[in-house]
């Protein structure tokens, strides 16, 4: 049962995408959208249950273990939330003329195609398939980033496709080098063992020199896709120009999938050259990302760009957690992947509704949101506070764990820089969001009632944030522990 699910899961969004091509009616399209995402989420949960009961499952080029499951659940939950959110969002976008009714059909098809490639990415055991799926996410999402069709969108899409395609070329090179190391160690016996699980079995015997080069190629390559600085140049542009639901998927799910790619190679490198080297590389990239993002967050006027730079910061925190290592740091990093994914999606949703209400992404224009849309404003503030790392929200927990791992290992400089940046960003974010929520509403704001479906999608995500901030449910904890064990060994 569980093995077949591995094939069915990527098929669900693929079939949904194909079904989208059969109709033009917005209601039917939205219905299909929600139904497809719901099926994906349900099957994911079934798979999770099987996995907790029966251990890792493998079929052909696909394999799922606790590590992949963490990311799979994130992708499925966000897809579901996005589907609910965009029922109302698209109705509004069509009414406002931001989306043409006839372009909805390819839009939905592309979104589900995008989801399908992400699902393949997290399920892939074969490192080549991982790469192909990763490039697939670039192609589908690049079209979505430029979907509004004006030249800003196309500029962002071009930058996105160029930077990430160069990036994952490097990733492919790294993959080839790791293959070469595996082939060298085992000759014909190593043939066919192109999968992560097979390479992991022989990893301690791999040539350290070539694995080291390969790992750096992969971190630079997949790191570009994950938004690690200084390869993050595409990220603020793409996140700000894409349609809001797509921004949420990009920031919440896609860059996490790239992180999974890095983590897979990190485990191989740790086994081949010792854990210190990959940890050091990730530590450096993590710190650079956090430091580079900070000034841009402080001086930003564009709400969605602000959130984009936040993603750079938080990806940096995840890399930092992996760099500190140990069970605490790694557990914290994985938890942060989920926390940030959910929170950032919520933030984009809330920002998207506010932007639609004011007709501008400029935070100077968005004023007094609390007065015109109380629920939306509350959710936006909640997301912002969570992003800034305030208790009782979930990001506080994972940041604390990363911090503890850093202190425990005596990385004092890194910890000091991390803390300083987090405090600065906290202040900056409160300043930005405080200005948007309170104050006198500008004339641009429409005062129509808040649409229900976006609120529903946002509430779902907000509930997860608060829940994970207060307690980590036992089954979740088991999955996270399993995933940590895979990385730490």
């Amino acid at each position: 049962m569980a093995e077949t699910l591995l094939w069915v899961l990527p098929l669900v969004p693929t079939v949904t995408a194909l079904l989208m091509l059969t109709t033009r009616d917005r209601r039917i399209l939205s219905g299909l959208d929600v139904a497809g995402s719901a099926v994906l989420l349900a099957l994911t949960l079934v798979l999770a249950r099987d996995l907790v009961a029966g251990g890792p499952q493998a079929l052909g080029v696909f394999r799922v273990d606790d590590l992949g499951l963490v990311f799979l659940i994130l992708v499925a939950v966000l897809t579901f939330a996005v589907s609910i959110y965009q029922v109302g969002w698209l109705r509004q976008a069509v009414a406002l003329g931001n989306m043409k009714p006839e372009s909805l059909r390819p839009y939905f098809a592309l979104v589900h195609g995008f989801v399908a490639t992400m699902v393949v990415t997290v399920l892939a055991d074969n490192l080549g398939v991982l790469w192909i799926a990763m490039e697939g996410t670039t192609i589908t999402s690049a079209v979505l980033v430029g979907y509004h069709g004006h030249h800003h969108g196309l500029e962002a899409a071009w930058k996105y496709i160029i930077v990430t395609t160069i990036g994952i070329s490097f990733g492919l090179f790294g993959t080839v080098l790791v293959y070469a190391a595996a082939a060298a160690g085992h000759g014909s016996a190593g043939a066919g063992s192109r999968s992560w699980s097979a390479i992991m079995k022989v990893a301690p015997a791999l040539d350290p020199g070539i694995v080291r080069i390969g790992f750096i190629f992969v971190v630079v390559g997949y790191g570009a896709k994950a938004g690690l600085a200084p390869m993050h140049l595409w990220l603020p542009d793409a996140h700000s120009q894409a349609p809001t639901p797509v921004s949420a998927l990009l920031s919440g799910a896609l860059i996490k999938c790239a992180l999974l790619g890095i983590i897979r190679f990190q485990t191989i490198a740790a086994a081949a050259v010792g854990p210190a080297f990959p940890m050091q590389v990730l530590l450096v990239f993590g710190l650079i990302s956090i430091v580079v993002a900070t000034p841009f967050i402080l001086t930003q006027h564009d709400l969605k760009r602000l959130l984009g730079y936040h993603s750079v910061e938080h990806v940096g925190i995840v890399a930092l957690g992996l760099g500190f290592g140990g069970s605490v740091g790694t557990y914290g990093a994985l938890l942060h992947v989920v926390n940030h994914g959910v929170t950032k999606a919520l933030a984009f949703f809330a920002a998207g509704t506010a932007i639609a209400r004011y007709g501008s992404r400029d935070m100077q224009v968005i004023r007094g949101l609390l007065a015109v849309a109380p629920i939306g404003a509350t959710l936006l503030m909640l997301a912002a506070l969570s992003l800034a790392g305030v208790p009782p929200f979930s990001i506080f927990v994972s940041e604390l764990m990363v911090l503890r791992a850093g202190i425990g290992d005596g990385h004092w400089v890194a910890v000091a820089v991390f803390l300083a940046m987090v405090v600065i960003i906290f202040a900056g974010l409160l300043h930005h969001v405080g200005g948007m929520a309170f104050g006198k509403p500008t004339a641009a704001a429409t005062r129509e009632a808040e649409a229900r479906s976006p609120l529903l999608g946002m509430t779902l995500l907000a509930a997860i944030i608060i829940l994970l901030g207060l307690t980590i449910p036992g089954s979740f904890d088991r999955i996270f522990r399993g995933a940590t064990e895979i990385i730490v060994g």
């Binding site: 192609i139 069709g149 500029e155 071009w158 395609t165 090179f173 082939a183």
Partner: protein, 218 residues
């Protein structure tokens, strides 16, 4: 063919690949760059054929054939078509002086050879100089993309970059599995088509080169 002959032939093809790469880096006109990248892909296909004969690996023949049709013929043709459609200025606009780009290319080549010379016994898993040549091509391709502001040149740089990876991948003993290589090539085609469409769309709306747009900042 003896292992030694194969190694010599691959090394020689590698030298020719480096030559085409130098031509791409130094190309003053987009047409020259396109021809050079087509020649480069052709050489990659030849290398695939040589390795296929040497190892008896049928997959490599298929890969060589696909490389020949797709990367040496179809993609250059697409680029050529876009150039004609766009009626672009024929000169490539560099961000930094061409001479500096060339100098950087030399640094890249020397560093790649130095890097791979530092490797241990694993070098035997890759035929001849395929690893340093592959790294050189990949990095020089990125160099071209970073130093040119025209979209089509950036695409040429991308293809050159991927050629480098293919060259190394083919020369890795056992190679990549066929299905993976085909998937990779499919992705490359799709990416190229999406890029071509974007370039033409921007050209039709704002009459500018998409790579030259710089309105999103900060």
């Amino acid at each position: 063919m003896s292992a030694e002959t194969v190694q010599t032939v691959i090394d020689n093809l590698g030298a020719l690949l480096l030559f085409t790469m130098i031509l791409i880096v130094a190309a003053g006109q987009i047409y020259r760059a396109i021809y050079a990248v087509a020649a480069q892909s052709f050489l990659i296909a030849v290398a695939g054929g040589v390795l296929a004969t040497a190892t008896g690996n049928v997959d490599l023949w298929v890969i060589a054939g696909i490389t020949l049709t797709v990367k040496a013929i179809v993609l250059p043709w697409v680029l050529h078509w876009v150039v004609r459609r766009m009626n672009v200025r024929r000169e490539i606009e560099p961000v930094i002086p061409d001479a500096a780009t060339l100098a950087l290319a030399v640094v890249v080549v020397v560093l790649s050879f130095h890097l791979s010379a530092s490797l241990g016994p694993v070098r035997q898993a890759i035929t001849g100089n395929a690893l340093p040549v592959g790294i050189s091509l990949t990095l020089s391709g990125v160099l071209v993309m970073a130093t040119r502001k025209t979209a089509l040149t950036q695409m040429v740089g991308l293809f050159a970059s991927e050629n480098g990876i293919f060259f190394t991948a083919m020369a890795v003993t056992q190679g990549m599995p066929l299905i993976i290589e085909i998937g990779v090539i499919l992705d490359v085609i799709l990416a190229a088509l999406v890029m071509a469409i974007m370039v033409l769309r921007v050209r039709s709306t704002v009459d500018a080169d998409i790579a030259d747009l710089e309105e999103l900042r900060g």
